[in-house]
Symmetry: C2
Subunit: 198 residues, 2 copies
DNA sequence: GTCAAAATGCCACAGTGTGGCGTTTGCTTC
DNA sequence: GAAGCAAACGCCACACTGTGGCATTTTGAC
């Protein structure tokens, strides 16, 4: 990430440790026994924290499972704020995503595919994921121009769709270095898709 | 709807009545007191059915609130099965949607906007709605061609995005006759959106 | 060392969704 | 029309998620 200066105080470091332990263990346990079928208590016992503490760190059971996804989009918005917007907005979106992917660390590339597999298996998790994605779309729109502009809304929706298609292509193999290629292919196909005939 | 021959037996009619009463009353009550803030029990007491009976008719609290949305997409798939697919697939999608809208009755045009307003207010409902939409997208893709085809996936995502934009434009006024116009405008804007510049 | 603030744990509660089981109600057959 | 059968229903109890109150421990500051 960009601006994650290591917390000075011992208290903050401790709190961060339990947060990370929850995120990490959540992926392990949910990945092994399924998200819907594993009670939250199983995670709490494994990390040895009370329910109260958990809900002070995460809004819901889904939240802790989706940290990798949220981190990606959070970074994406940061990148978007930094970059100069010029030329075709679809290219701006694609390049911002490529930059974002470049900034993700090794640990993220291990957690992210695991998260996607959880999302595939659990409708509840998928719903949460889609909902979060919708919020991000609104933010992206606000950063790219006039939110009331119909074409802009369509464009952002389409870019996110291309991103999801790229993920679908990438997920089976999950080779870290291939994701940018999948993204480029998906964005390159956007034009042809509109002209697709039966 | 198309193939809804009125149920012959008394038992089926009775069951249908409670189903409809639940759907109708749900929109009233949730619309008045909010979806998240209204317990399911309030609905159950109003319609005078037990929780057990409710969950035999609907999968969840969200389910009963989204019946109008589900009915739309169900009809849309039916229309898609009936129509001949030729020419640009984006046009096929748009025309199928226009046909679907034409088939909806007056009652639906009263419930549907009310449902959309509920979805706007409740993240949980929105998540369920988006999840259902994703399932429909897969069905549509299967009906339009090769599910593995990247361009096809993109196209369907884009068409659904256009539909949602049409709804956003329509929702404030909600005049029944204007929805087709909103749909045409949104689909007409698709081409320009890809070429949008900063 | 002391005191204030923050984080935690424990307890109780509301709300959603599921399963078992006995009872009612409508359908069928004689 | 009466008996038998199956579907729908209501009641009860339970598991799971998420929230609020409150006492306790831990940490940082003076």
């Amino acid at each position: 990430m960009t601006t994650s200066g290591p917390p000075a105080t011992l208290r903050e470091r401790k709190k961060l440790r339990t947060r990370q332990a929850l995120e990490e263990t959540a992926l392990e346990i949910f990945g092994e026994h399924g998200f819907d079928t594993t009670p939250l208590d199983t995670l709490l016992e494994a990390v040895e924290v009370s329910r109260r503490t958990f809900f002070r760190n995460f809004r819901s059971k889904e939240d802790v499972a989706l940290t990798a996804v949220k981190r990606l989009w959070s970074e994406f918005l940061d990148v978007l704020d930094e970059t100069a917007k010029s030329g075709p907005l679809a290219d701006v979106f694609r390049d911002a995503m490529l930059t974002t992917l470049d900034r993700m660390d090794e640990d993220w590339y291990r957690r992210f595919p695991a998260t996607l597999r959880l999302v595939e298996e659990s409708p509840a998790l998928d719903g949460h994921s889609l909902r979060h994605c919708a919020e991000i779309k609104d933010e992206v729109i606000r950063r790219l121009g006039d939110p009331g502009r119909l074409e802009l809304r369509l464009l952002v929706e389409f870019c996110v769709a291309a991103w999801h298609c790229a993920l679908d292509e990438w997920l089976p193999g999950c080779a870290t270095g291939e994701l940018p290629g999948c993204v480029r292919r998906a964005f390159a196909a956007m034009d042809a898709s509109l002209r697709l005939e039966a």
